[in-house]
């Protein structure tokens, strides 16, 4: 009897074990399904053909209407920043951690980006009629951006087009681009990627310069539409990307038109802003936020080196920054001055023939703030920065 009894008990405990196994299998099913699906069968392309395809796609027709979910993950190796962690909807929070963005694109400059946070949301809506709205639910503020008259629309594909040099066909342009890039970058193509359920090519750009902190940049392009689906930046000596932004879900169909209309809700604060130059129309994107914060007071930037090892010198003083208006956003976290303060606390004191200063190194970017008020920034090793500081 006892043995029978214990066997019955073992059988009973088998049920929860099986339940856990089923749930575990369901959780882990995604990668397995992707693996079972096998490599997608896209025709092989060389880097040159692929770039030509992309140019052709950008040249002949506008990017297709689409909607999807974008996940941005940044692990720059920065110290813990005083920005709201987790899934806050403050744009500054994109500097660290992982974040989810919803994207809708309806063609004709109609774009909506939504950054959801806990019981809050930040939306950027470009209506396609020459105005854009920024809606921040946590401050109940709607900001209307209008371009100054005559300013051209700056949108996804256009920079690529305007960058077209005198060459005639996309193939020639592709060859030219690759020739220029090839001087400091090794470019290869990986076929057979699955990204957001789409078969994709992946362009791998590997810097040749040894002082660069960037190991490689991977740009995944949709196999059909040649839309960028994912960008990964790998730092030297790491297997996980230091920065990654890519679709986790994407649909190539026209989103509902309600997404691109915005009427400020009753009771919201409404602000009006005019954008002077087309460049200002840039969305507060992932990479932009950090650079804008650092380079706000740019007066006379100089650069040293070229390609991946470019070092930028910016006149900079801490006093300026602490005086800078920090807007109401600061109260909800993500105050630029406080972020910088935290960064500087973790900086390392260095000195050399060029003077002395503080070096801050992350996985991808190093910064040197000299005591005489110059800031050197580059995706290079600190040694390259101090070398640049030595050049007069």
């Amino acid at each position: 009897m006892p043995s029978q009894w214990s066997r019955a008990r073992a059988v009973r405990w088998g049920v929860p074990v099986a339940a856990i196994a089923v749930v575990g299998a369901a959780v882990g099913a995604g990668p397995v399904v992707a693996a079972v699906q096998g490599d997608p069968s896209l025709p092989d392309r060389t880097a040159e053909q692929l770039v030509a395809d992309v140019l052709k796609a950008g040249h002949e027709k506008a990017p297709p209407a689409m909607s999807g979910t974008v996940v941005e993950t940044a692990s720059f190796g920065l110290p813990a920043l005083p920005v709201p962690g987790g899934s806050s909807s403050s744009p500054m929070s994109l500097l660290s951690g992982s974040h989810t963005l919803k994207v809708w694109y309806g063609g004709d400059g109609r774009v909506r980006l939504a950054l959801p946070g806990p019981m809050s949301e930040t939306d950027v809506i470009s209506t396609g009629k020459g105005e854009a709205w920024l809606w921040q639910s946590d401050t109940n503020t709607a900001t209307r951006f209008k371009p100054a008259q005559g300013a051209a629309k700056a949108d996804g594909a256009e920079p690529a087009q305007s960058a077209l040099p005198t060459a005639k066909t996309p193939d020639q342009v592709a060859a030219e681009i690759l020739k220029v890039a090839g001087t400091n970058t090794a470019i290869t193509v990986e076929n057979g990627q699955h990204i957001a359920g789409r078969a994709a090519y992946q362009l791998v750009l590997t810097p040749k310069d040894t002082s660069s902190l960037v190991k490689e940049v991977k740009l995944a392009l949709d196999g059909q539409n040649h839309i960028p689906l994912r960008v990964q930046v790998f730092a030297k000596g790491t297997a996980e990307p230091a920065f990654e932004v890519g679709f986790t879900q994407v649909t190539f169909s026209t989103p509902a038109p309600e997404n691109f209309a915005f009427t400020p809700p009753a009771g919201a604060k409404i602000q009006e802003k005019t954008i002077g130059s087309p460049a200002g129309e840039k969305k507060p994107g992932a990479a932009g936020a950090g650079q804008e914060a650092l380079g706000k007071d740019t007066k006379k930037p100089r650069t040293f080196g070229s390609g991946w090892a470019t070092v930028a010198e910016v006149p900079f003083s801490l006093a300026d920054l602490s005086k800078a208006p920090t807007s109401e956003q600061g109260k909800h976290g993500g105050d630029p001055a406080r972020v910088l303060d935290t960064l500087l606390k973790s900086a390392k004191q260095v000195s050399g023939p060029w003077g002395s200063g503080k070096v801050l190194q992350s996985k991808l970017v190093s910064a040197l703030l000299t005591d005489d008020g110059r800031l050197f920034v580059g995706a290079v090793t600190p040694e390259a920065l101090t070398a640049a500081a030595g050049q007069k």
Partner: protein, 312 residues
């Protein structure tokens, strides 16, 4: 408590009179159920048991007290907001309540779903089995044929209904307070879109249902803990501690990879219903997490309870 249980008539008197023989029943398994012809359909018997469980749960003074507290909190929030008024410094969700009473429901639920609602559910769930065991009434409950699995299922449904009622109490109290103290009109969603009041009420329903599903998952966890002990307060405390612990894990940024697997991370995701379009992907994922917790914890509870020696 045992006096309360004896007043309950879920088990027919003749079955009650039979001596409790847990070991014999376990060894024989469901065969006993075949030996005793069921007096009525098993579904009706289960329903009867559920009804008596619900009566017990909702007549128990401490449960009533908890529901009253849950109802008072939204009223208090409403009164404070009405008296103090939403100045410009407050988070906009609070200021929005001043503009629209319906928002009070979402504010109240987002506050209460973190601790007070889980606490109430943990008390009922932790008490479900351990309370009967410590009161000495469990063995009588189990003398009925087709016993343990059905009893466990009924206990779970009971806890889930209590969670739903608790969420509805919060939502209703907040709705009434909001309608009385504040102007009510079209609702502004988190995405800045304005929807008519009727749609707003529909979203209140979605939010309440989603919260109740989250509470049911916690109820399954509490029930599993409850089968492990004969000390009800221990089961309740363990459940609450698990909730608090999981919430602490949820705020440590370095543990971000773990957070999607925590039950507590998904409770507040009802805010997906306040977006335009509704964030169905996030909420579906939340519901799947709730279902996974319910299945795993429920099966653990079953594994433990169906094979346990009932000594009290």
């Amino acid at each position: 408590m045992s006096t309360v249980r004896s007043a309950e008539t879920a088990t027919p008197p003749d079955v009650l009179a039979r001596p409790a023989e847990p070991h014999a029943e376990q060894a024989a398994g469901p065969g006993v159920a075949v030996a005793v012809p069921p007096r009525r359909g098993p579904a009706r018997a289960a329903l009867r048991l559920l009804r008596s469980e619900l009566t017990l749960t909702f007549r128990r003074p401490r449960n009533i007290a908890m529901l009253i507290v849950l109802a008072i909190v939204p009223v208090l929030i409403g009164i404070v907001l009405r008296v103090v008024g939403g100045d410009g410094e407050a988070p906009s969700l609070i200021t929005q309540v001043a503009g629209n009473g319906l928002m009070l429901t979402f504010v109240a639920l987002s506050l209460l779903v973190q601790l007070l609602l889980p606490l109430a559910v943990a008390v009922v769930a932790g008490d479900a089995i351990a309370g009967e065991a410590s009161g000495g009434t469990l063995r009588y409950l189990l003398t009925a044929p087709a016993g343990r699995t059905r009893l466990l299922a009924v206990k779970f449904v009971n806890v889930a209904i209590f969670g739903l009622v608790a969420c509805m109490v919060v939502a209703l109290a907040a709705l009434v307070t909001g309608f009385v103290l504040f102007p009510v009109g079209p609702v502004t969603l988190l995405s800045g879109t304005t929807i008519p009041l009727a749609d707003g009420l529909l979203r209140v329903l979605i939010v309440t249902g989603y919260s109740a599903a989250g509470m049911a998952a916690l109820g399954a966890f509490g029930l599993a803990v409850s089968t492990l002990t004969e000390v009800p307060i221990g089961a309740v405390a363990a459940t609450v501690v698990a909730v608090v612990f999981s919430q602490v894990l949820g705020v440590i940024p370095q543990l971000a990879p773990v957070q999607p697997y925590l039950l507590t991370s998904w409770w507040a995701s009802f805010d997906g219903a306040l977006r335009d379009p509704v964030a169905t992907d996030v909420m579906t994922q939340g519901l799947l997490v709730f279902a996974a917790y319910t299945v795993v914890c429920g099966s653990i509870a079953w594994g433990r309870f169906s094979g346990r020696d009932i000594t009290s």
